[in-house]
């Protein structure tokens, strides 16, 4: 008995103390950036740079909180009430979802910032193990018998959708646009996928850490990051003959930012992405800057030249691609049969 009361008093006191601490931490203005998986390292650098810049300009100390996860899942969380001031997601379709389901983001969000509100671009490349033991050179090698391909699930991951569309674009070009044959080819590719993770980062750890698969279809920045984290000589990047230009967009979640009194910082934060400093940091973190002029030439030299298709020109934009390929019962559902 006595033991119990004493214990609960101690717990109560601890709870009080902790919540007091938490309240203290909230005293300054804080901005919440809800982002997708492979941007963690970039925004770590960028947030520090922006906070310093903001402090220099206004004298105010700003704390930037980060939340990372699968792009689609993050959009869902914002729709369900996660108090994001800005979203920096993997594809326009996910921000469209927020704009369609709520009025927190204006419908014309993509026009508010330059370059369709995408401050950096990326593309899709292959990552293979040291020495490229399976001799993988291009997309065609991924449908060969016995080659294990790692890519995440396009139903949940933004990166996976870019992967899928890049593969589709390649096959479409090779097979002269015969949709039936292209479908066949893409089906063969996904037959070689032993593990379909829910997010891009999950696939990367499956491939790099757990050692499963022969080739990882990956964001370019993610592939560079693996080389950096696991040693450049353990993995090789293979550049396919054709890929897709991925434009991860950003937007202010106006309703949230306004309610929190953060609208000015939120807008400044996203504009800073386009500044020379922001572009330079993007290039350093393996994102292709939209304005290369201020980036470090050494960083830029790492990006290979690839022929790139575009979602708007070649697939008619995200909402069309979404409906055609990834909606329930659409092409992906028709071709993908889990093997185990």
């Amino acid at each position: 008995m006595r033991l119990l009361t004493r214990r609960s008093i101690a717990l109560g006191a601890a709870a009080l103390f902790l919540s007091f601490e938490a309240a203290q931490a909230l005293a300054d203005r804080t901005l919440l950036n809800v982002s997708y998986d492979p941007t963690r390292e970039f925004y770590k650098d960028f947030n520090a740079a922006f906070a310093a810049d903001w402090k220099a300009k206004t004298g105010e100390t700003i704390t930037i909180e980060q939340s990372h996860g699968g792009s689609g899942k993050q959009a869902r969380a914002v729709i369900d009430g996660l108090q994001a001031d800005v979203v920096t997601l993997a594809l326009a379709g996910d921000i469209d979802q927020i704009a369609n389901k709520t009025d927190k983001v204006p419908k014309d969000w993509a026009t508010k910032l330059p370059n369709n509100a995408a401050p950096y671009t990326s593309t899709i490349v292959f990552l293979v193990r040291k020495g490229n033991p399976r001799g993988i050179k291009d997309w065609n090698d991924l449908v060969r018998d016995g080659v294990q391909v790692i890519t995440p699930n396009p139903k949940t991951s933004g990166g996976a959708r870019w992967n899928y569309l890049a593969a589709w674009a390649y096959a479409s070009k090779q097979l002269g646009g015969d949709d039936g044959k292209v479908k066949e080819w893409v089906a063969d590719l996904y037959r070689n996928v032993p593990v379909l993770d829910t997010g891009a980062r999950g696939s990367t750890t499956t491939f790099a850490q757990r050692g499963i698969g022969d080739v990882l279809i990956s964001w370019e920045n993610e592939a560079f990051l693996v080389q950096k984290e696991f040693g450049a000589d353990n993995f090789e990047i293979i550049v396919p003959s054709l890929s897709i230009k991925a434009e991860p967009p950003v937007a202010v979640v106006a309703a949230n930012a306004k309610a929190k009194g953060n609208l000015d910082v939120a807008e400044a934060y996203l504009r800073y992405l386009y500044s020379p400093e922001g572009q330079k940091l993007a290039a350093r973190n393996f994102f292709r800057p939209v304005d290369a002029s201020s980036a470090d030439p050494a960083d830029l030299a790492r990006f290979p030249k690839i022929e790139l298709v575009s979602i708007d020109k070649d697939f008619g934009g995200w909402s069309k691609a979404q409906k055609e390929f990834f909606a329930d019962g659409a092409i992906f559902d028709q071709i993908y049969r889990p093997t185990n």
């Binding site: 601890a14 938490a22 369900d80 108090q83 750890t205």
Partner: protein, 293 residues
């Protein structure tokens, strides 16, 4: 086989049976031990080996990280609210169920078991459906500027829901087997309801209660699924230890991930130790009870 067995001299049968049993026993125990080592012990060791891969210094450095500290603090805070709450409510619910007959008693019993039978992810989603911006209470909550999910209240609620059955499940069978005769005796001796509860009912279940509280605590600190759904994963703010471990792992910070994992495992092991000690005490008391009849 069966036929020939039947014609064996009767005196041999028991001998054969026992030697067969002994062999089976050895094999079964062997399999069980192998299984335990492979499935339970090795992974546990791995956690600590990985955490110490770069030495003790790096391990403690990782604990100094502000995001890690905040995850530890949040986990303790959530447990500090959820566990006492569930202890009190679980005790009250068990008491009602075990000592009284009333309408809806079976429904209450089923409800208590519900968190065990549904997936934690669903427990989390229920709160999103309820308190999310698109949920039933969402508009009202945002109009009053109350944030439940993607904030500490949501994490506490999800944890409370998932860990609710532990105390009640421990207490109900014990209270039922104890019956109401001691309480009736106390009432006949003039004791008030409170006096009866604190002097008779509670002491009779105190070890089981503590045992339930420990299990509840272990789960409250370790819960991943339900909390993941309502957390929002804001670094340094809404990540509990299990969520933070996943994030560190996804950031290629394997040592960091295993450092936090080793701390969580350490807490679990302490809980387990306390539980074992209790079981030992508890067993003594049960034996005394058995002796009485």
């Amino acid at each position: 086989m069966a036929m020939s067995d039947r014609f064996l001299p009767l005196a041999h049968a028991p001998e054969r049976a026992t030697s067969e049993t002994a062999f089976t026993k050895v094999v079964l125990i062997g399999i069980a031990v192998l299984f335990l080592v492979a499935i339970l012990f090795l992974p546990l060791v791995t956690v600590f080996v990985e955490a110490l891969r770069k030495g003790w210094g790096t391990l403690f450095e990782n604990f100094g990280d502000p995001d890690t500290l905040s995850a530890i603090r949040l986990t303790l805070l959530v447990a500090a609210i959820a566990v006492p709450f569930n202890a009190v409510v679980g005790l009250a619910a068990s008491w009602c169920i075990a000592k009284f007959e009333f309408k809806g008693r079976n429904l209450l019993l089923t409800l208590i078991d519900l968190p065990f039978s549904i997936s934690p992810v669903i427990s989390g989603l229920v709160y999103v459906l309820l308190f999310g911006a698109q949920g039933w209470l969402g508009p009202w909550l945002s109009a009053h500027d109350i944030q439940i999910i993607f904030a500490v209240p949501g994490i506490v609620l999800a944890t409370v829901l998932v860990t609710f059955p532990f105390v009640a499940r421990e207490l109900i069978p014990l209270m039922q087997s104890q019956g109401t005769s001691e309480e009736e005796a106390a009432l006949m001796l003039g004791a008030s309801g409170w006096h009866t509860f604190f002097k008779v009912t509670l002491p009779n279940v105190k070890w089981a209660l503590l045992y339930g509280v420990l299990l509840c605590n272990a789960r409250a600190m370790g819960e991943f699924g339900a909390v993941s759904v309502v957390s929002g994963h804001i670094r340094g703010l809404t990540n509990t230890m299990p969520l933070h471990i996943e994030i560190l792992y996804n950031e290629y910070n394997f040592v960091g991930a295993f450092a936090v994992a080793s701390l969580l495992t350490g807490l679990a092991l302490i809980t387990l130790l306390a539980k074992t000690l209790l079981e030992w005490r508890f067993a003594g008391e049960l034996a005394a009870k058995a002796h009485r009849h």
